[in-house]
Each structure stands twice: as structure tokens, then as C-alpha cells.
């Protein structure tokens, strides 16, 4: 493909380096000359946003760690110290706490984007599974981070989530004691969660490298869901994708800043400003918003083992998506029926999130059951069958054809044809 490894070091120093560690040419071929489909829309900027947010979490996290004390008697106090005494501590903590929420917002959009445009299909299965692994690691990291301030919600979230493992037959209780390092959630638990909360983001960074590697082997998918055939179908990563990504990262930061500066506690729970009390469960416990759909699935099933199994399966099933979807056509643009089921899926996921925040009684339970049913049916009934029954629309012959008419872009300006138009 065009532009691959065309890097020629110019200065003497770069030539010297190139012979010893060809890092400049690696960066050049991956992020400068790298050909990206010319029809990418803004939904493709979320990968960049996610990398940016990981950086934000690591920088603010490392700084918070300089002021935080992982001990049951001091953790809450040290977080209050960060809020009141540490210079700009309030800002750093609000950036970190809201940054986690923004990180999840971005990952959900990124995942739905992949589902809409069929980005998980051949040859991007490994790329997709690496994404699911990153998502799981993010969930573990976010959960353990939420425990660190040692407020009421921290403590009881830690209790409920670790107890999920007690549903495992025979060895469940042994595993839970092992996770706690005691007979209840306590100081050993807080200590190990802190250690792992510090570690996992760097593991995520490692898997992100694999994810991007797999992406650069398979190439990016695009809104048309067809592979680039000629140079006309692609544009070089720099400046086109770089500018687009940077622009949207900046827009995303406006939203982020709005949360941080205007409603920094909106997404949190007031009870987490009460120090942890192992003798008193709060009147209602709800997880952070980004776990709510799964919490609703757990609660919709009135049996412990089945509920926990459903919770874990609802996440793990994502990894099997490439094989559950039997349609050869990738993009929902050319799949009229799939598109409707997809949007129903989005609505049911958001609906489950809403229901997860409501008390588990009456109509809320019934609705949770219906939506849980659809959530699973989407994966194990709708997607496998749709591939056989759906009549898809004809695909364009090339990416260029899908966005250009006789060399002139449809709608907004496309780069190279600007001069011609």
C-alpha cells in the first residue's frame, strides 16, 4: 500500500539512529505515512480519545498516589487531604474521577461503533478480542480505584463485587477469603487493590500496543465496510487522521472539562463522602454508572449462581461476536434489518443502565428481565440467523466510489480532489 516505510532519514544524527534503532521509521510508517481509508467519520476518532484518556488517568493517578495512603484508617482522610490541602489536589482528583467516567463513555462509543460497522469481522477478530480484554481490564481497574477513597460506597461495592465469586460452587468461599486476605473486606483488601490499581493501567497500555499492532496488520475498517483497493481509497494518516483525531480530542476535552469544573460530583454517589463503616450497609447501593447495565442483568435473575453467570456471560459474549454474526457484509449501512436490531440493542443496553439504578422491585424487575432477554437474544439468536435471512443492499465497488462522484466529494470536501472541484 501507499506510503509504507518510505521514511528517509535526512540529518546525520537520524541516519545514525536509524541504523541502530529504527524507531523514527516505525513511527513514520505507523502514524505518518500509514494509509487510512478516506471515508472515515468522527466515530473513528474514539481510538485516539481512548489513548489520550489512558494517558490522563496515568498522569493524574501517579500524582494522586504521591498524596494517597492505602490504609483503612488513613485512606479517607488522605483523599480529603487531597481535596482540601494539596495544591490543586481537588482538580487532580476530579480529573481522575471524572476521567474514569469519560474513559468509559469513550470505550462504549468505540465498542458500539465497532458493532455498527462490523469491525469485528474477518480479518479483525484478534483485534476485537484484544479490545474486549482491554475493556475487562478497565472494568477491574475502575472498580479497584473506586474502592481506594474508602467511603461507604467503596466499602460496600468491594463487598458485593468480591462476593460475586462466592457463587462458584465448592471453592467459592475459599476464593473470596483469599481475595480479601481476611474474613471480611479490610485493610489487606485495600492494600492489594491499591497495588493492582497502580499496576493494571500499565498492563492496559501493553495490550493497547498489541491492539494497535493488530490494527495496523489488518488495516482499519471504514463506514462502507469494504477493503481499500487502490491508492484512491486511502489518505495518509498525517495530516488527515492526525488533525481529525486531535480536533475531536479537543472537543471531547470540552465535555470533560465541563464535568470537572461544573458538576464534578454529578456522576459519583454522595454516600462515598461518608467514611466506610463495616457495620452499616447504606440504604441503597448502586455501582458507578458504567457498570449499571450489568448490575441490572445480575439483579433481574432471582437465583444467585444464575445471576452471577449471566453477569459474566453478558460481558464475555462480546469476545465471540466475530463468530456469532454470520453475515458477510460488515457495515450496517448495507444491512437494513441488522440496523434495526442494532439500535434496539443500544436502547436495551441503555435501558438496562437506567434500570440498574432503580430499586429491584415491581415493574423495574419485569423490564430488566425483558431487556436482559433481548440482550442475550441479540447475540445468540438474532445475529446468527440474520446472516442467512437478511437481504443486504448492494455494496459499492470501492471506498472512493462510496464517497466521491466522478472525483468530486459528496457533501464536505475531501482532500485530494479539492483542487479538481
Amino acid at each position: 500500500m501507499s506510503g509504507h516505510s518510505t521514511y528517509q532519514p535526512k540529518s546525520g544524527a537520524m541516519k545514525w539512529l536509524e541504523r541502530r534503532l529504527p524507531i523514527a521509521s516505525l513511527v513514520h510508517s505507523s502514524f505518518v505515512a500509514y494509509p487510512t481509508p478516506r471515508n472515515l467519520n468522527y466515530w473513528w476518532t474514539f481510538g485516539g480519545i481512548l489513548s489520550f484518556m489512558l494517558g490522563v488517568q496515568i498522569v493524574t493517578g501517579v500524582v494522586l498516589a504521591m498524596h494517597y495512603t492505602p490504609h483503612v484508617d488513613l485512606a479517607f482522610k488522605s483523599v480529603e487531604g487531597i481535596m482540601r490541602d494539596v495544591n490543586y489536589g481537588w482538580l487532580l482528583r476530579y480529573l481522575h474521577a471524572n476521567g474514569a467516567a469519560m474513559f468509559f463513555l469513550a470505550v462504549y462509543i468505540h465498542i458500539f461503533r465497532g458493532m455498527y460497522y462490523g469491525s469485528y469481522k474477518e480479518p479483525r477478530e484478534v483485534l476485537w478480542i484484544l479490545g474486549v480484554i482491554i475493556y475487562l481490564l478497565m472494568m477491574a481497574t475502575g472498580f479497584m480505584g473506586y474502592v481506594l477513597p474508602w467511603g461507604q460506597m467503596s466499602f460496600w461495592a468491594a463487598t458485593v463485587i468480591t462476593n460475586l465469586f462466592s457463587a462458584i460452587p465448592l471453592v467459592g468461599d475459599t476464593i473470596v477469603t483469599w481475595l480479601w486476605g481476611g474474613y471480611a473486606v479490610g485493610n489487606p483488601t485495600l492494600n492489594r487493590f491499591y497495588s493492582l490499581h497502580y499496576l493494571l493501567p500499565f498492563v492496559i497500555a501493553g495490550v493497547v500496543v498489541l491492539h494497535v499492532w493488530a490494527l495496523h496488520v489488518a488495516g482499519q475498517n471504514n463506514p462502507a465496510g469494504i477493503e481499500p483497493k487502490t491508492d484512491k481509497d486511502t489518505v495518509p494518516f498525517t495530516p488527515y487522521a492526525t488533525v481529525k483525531d486531535a480536533f475531536f480530542v479537543a472537543c471531547f476535552c470540552v465535555l470533560f472539562a465541563w464535568f470537572v469544573f461544573y458538576i464534578p460530583n454529578y456522576l459519583g454517589h454522595a454516600d462515598n463522602y461518608i467514611p466506610a463503616n463495616p457495620a452499616q450497609t447504606p440504604a441503597e447501593i448502586v455501582p458507578e454508572w458504567y457498570y449499571l447495565p450489568f448490575y441490572a442483568i445480575l439483579r433481574s435473575i432471582p437465583n444467585k449462581l444464575l445471576g452471577v453467570t449471566a453477569l459474566f456471560s453478558s460481558i464475555l459474549i462480546l469476545a465471540f461476536l466475530p463468530w456469532l454474526d454470520t453475515s458477510k457484509v460488515r457495515s450496517a449501512r448495507y444491512r437494513p434489518l441488522y440496523r434495526q436490531f442494532f439500535w434496539l440493542f443500544v436502547i436495551s443496553a441503555i435501558g438496562l443502565g437506567y434500570l440498574g439504578s432503580k430499586p429491584p422491585e415491581g415493574i423495574y424487575v419485569i423490564l430488566s428481565r425483558i431487556l436482559t432477554l433481548y440482550y442475550f437474544a441479540y447475540f445468540i439468536i438474532v445475529l446468527p440467523l440474520l446472516g442467512f435471512f437478511e437481504k443486504t443492499k448492494p455494496l459499492p465497488h470501492s471506498i472512493a466510489e462510496s464517497v466521491l462522484k466522478e472525483g468530486v466529494p459528496l457533501g464536505a470536501s475531501a482532500p485530494s480532489s479539492r483542487a479538481k472541484a
Binding site: V160, T162, N163, P188, A279, I285, R299, K304
Partner: protein, 175 residues
């Protein structure tokens, strides 16, 4: 030629297998401390010593909460009415069928001692709430009766009984 290379092979094969075997045993041996360090340490276990509780100040119908091994333990001084309700239910209709007589100690039917941790996901149920004269768990709505048995909701088991014995008529030792 062939003989030489095959002789080479057998010696190298032996080294491979021997090194691999020693390596595997070594890796497995290293896993033991790495996993075991996460279990409760000596001081945590030592802190789990038995405790004694004086029952005399607990009024009729009152439920108190004490801590043993950092777990809450409910001590319920049951009234006649509570006991009757607990004995009356059809045991076979219960999700975790156990008669009231196995939930308390003989001759001390007015004292129910249970671990105050919901068997669903570990919240502390609220005393004197719910439909069954016992506890209600605020987390996902499990309900326990006046014998601490699960009656409704997602919890699979009755509230667990801690090991305890009566040292006198008004004093118990838990643990």
C-alpha cells in the same frame, strides 16, 4: 553421520526434558508462596479468637450486633410470637429447608445467633424489617424470617450460624 547426530539428539533431548522438568517443578514451587501470601495472615487469624457476650441486657424482641472475626453477628432475643412463627412454617416450602429446632440450641429457643451477612452478596440485612418478622437486605431485597432463614429474594442460603456455646444461661461464647 546418522549415528553421530542421533547420539547428539539423545543427549540434547535428555537435557531438554531434564531442564524442562526442573523448570516446571520450580515454577510450581514458586507459585505456592505467591498465591498463599494473599490468604489471611497470622495476625488476622489470631484476631479471630472466640468472644464472650453477656445476654442479660438484651430485652425481649431486641436484636443486637456484635463483631467476631470482623463479621457482624446478630443476637436475636426472640419473643414467644417470633418463636411460634418460626416453628409454624412448613419446612418443605422453604428455599433452604431447615426446621427452627436446628437453628437454635435446645433449651435456649429464645436466642437466635446468626452471622449478619446476607448470603447473596454480603450486605448486612436490616433487623425487624421485611415481611417475615426477621431481616430485609437493602442491597437486592432478600428477606429472612425470625429463624434467619431465607424466605424471598436472590439469596440462596439461610443466614449462617457461627459456632457458639452457652457458658451460662446468660452468656455465650462465639468461636
Amino acid at each position: 553421520m546418522t549415528t553421530v547426530s542421533s547420539a547428539d539428539h539423545t543427549r540434547r533431548d535428555f537435557l531438554y526434558v531434564a531442564t524442562g522438568a526442573v523448570g516446571a517443578v520450580g515454577a510450581a514451587a514458586v507459585l505456592v508462596p505467591l498465591i498463599s501470601q494473599m490468604n489471611p495472615d497470622a495476625s488476622t487469624i489470631a484476631a479471630g479468637a472466640p468472644i464472650q457476650v453477656d445476654l442479660s441486657p438484651i430485652a425481649d424482641g431486641q436484636i443486637i450486633k456484635v463483631f467476631w472475626r470482623s463479621k457482624p453477628v446478630f443476637i436475636f432475643h426472640r419473643t414467644k410470637h417470633d418463636i411460634e412463627l418460626a416453628q409454624k412454617v412448613d419446612v418443605n416450602s422453604l428455599p433452604d429447608p431447615v426446621p427452627d429446632s436446628e437453628r437454635v440450641q435446645k433449651g435456649h429457643e429464645q436466642w437466635l445467633v446468626v452471622i449478619g451477612i446476607c448470603t447473596h452478596l454480603g450486605c448486612i440485612p436490616l433487623p425487624h424489617q421485611g415481611e417475615f418478622d426477621g431481616w430485609f437486605c437493602p442491597c437486592h431485597g432478600s428477606q429472612y424470617d425470625s429463624a434467619g432463614r431465607i424466605r424471598k429474594g436472590p439469596a440462596p442460603k439461610n443466614l449462617y450460624l457461627p459456632p457458639y456455646k452457652f457458658v451460662s444461661d446468660t452468656k455465650i461464647q462465639i468461636g
